[in-house]
Symmetry: C2
Subunit: 196 residues, 2 copies
């Protein structure tokens, strides 16, 4: 909720409530019908707002669905701080695995990868998502470096922890068990130079 308010153009009050209602309407339509299979009019009706409020704020359906997908993907899976990079990564990866194997997570993940098909807003939102994930990860990785632990680049975390889980879920392999998830972390850390 705090993040939603910060992201709204006019923080707090009616603007934040409209945003929350519209996001919720998009989420439920995505879960029911799949991404893209609904109109702005249907979102507005479900959210109890005027079509024009949505057009004024988001411009079009692509920009709106992009905003919803990115808010979900970056609001979920908060960054842990356990004091050890291996434990941070295991905890983070376990959270992400849990988020994406559910039906809502899969719908959002599909929505995210389909965004760029629908113009510049989609491409921008998709790029913003990766940047936001990197920013979150860099906070974790910087803390590890400050403690003197060797740490990978944040894109290595994307490539070798997030990407395998995303692709498995997108291709229908939804059994992301603890051994598998921990194995991804161990594999990534095994490729790093020893302690400095």
């Amino acid at each position: 909720m705090k993040e939603e308010q910060e992201r709204a153009r006019r923080p707090g009050g009616r603007s934040a409530r409209v945003r929350a209602a519209v996001h919720q309407a998009v989420m439920s339509l995505v879960a029911e019908r799949g991404y893209g299979a609904f109109t702005i009019g249907e979102v507005a009706a479900r959210a109890g707002v005027a079509d024009t409020s949505i057009y004024r704020r988001w411009g079009n359906l692509e920009a709106l669905t992009a905003d919803v997908a990115m808010a979900w993907l970056t609001a979920e899976s908060p960054i842990p701080d356990t004091g050890s990079l291996r434990d941070d990564l295991r905890s983070y990866a376990t959270q992400v695995a849990g988020d994406i194997v559910g039906p809502e997570g899969l719908a959002i993940l599909r929505l995210a990868v389909s965004l760029s098909a629908s113009g510049e807003e989609g491409e921008q939102a998709r790029a913003d998502f990766l940047l936001e994930r990197q920013r979150q990860l860099d906070a974790m990785l910087d803390r590890a470096r400050d403690r003197g632990e060797p740490a990978p680049h944040s894109m290595d975390v994307v490539d070798h922890i997030l990407a395998p889980m995303y692709v498995r879920v997108l291709f229908g392999l939804t059994d992301l068990g603890a051994d598998y998830v921990d194995g991804l972390v161990d594999h990534l850390l095994a490729g790093l130079p020893r302690e400095p």
Copy 2:
């Protein structure tokens, strides 16, 4: 062409020509409009066949698009045999990178990940795709083991070579340069036990 004939229900002749024309029509519609944004009637018109021929053979649009996506993804990127696993993997990864960064490749990749949204045929096709990729990879990996080289599991190749490239392309990072691709291979092989 040879593979298409083998896959057709009645090999060669009219059946194979229909399949090729229908596949080509779907590919061009996917590239023009994005996956799912067309009907069986439009595919039939473009391929110059009757709607009923498509319904009889594929049943529905989901099964048809699944067939097209899987045929493209598994026909491209043939498996190399250089005599060294590292070179085989680099060659394979370089081919896959080249295939998926183009507009047709991206459209097909999006199509593949969206398939399961549309029922059982989609899920089955998606599972078949992963199985076919694994089967192709296992041939390469088995040759390496026969030569006495340590080799990863085929799902490790999916997780640490295919998945990072797929996710980068799906999220709009299409700069899969040689250093990056070779780095994925080296990272995967570095995690293996030394020569037996």
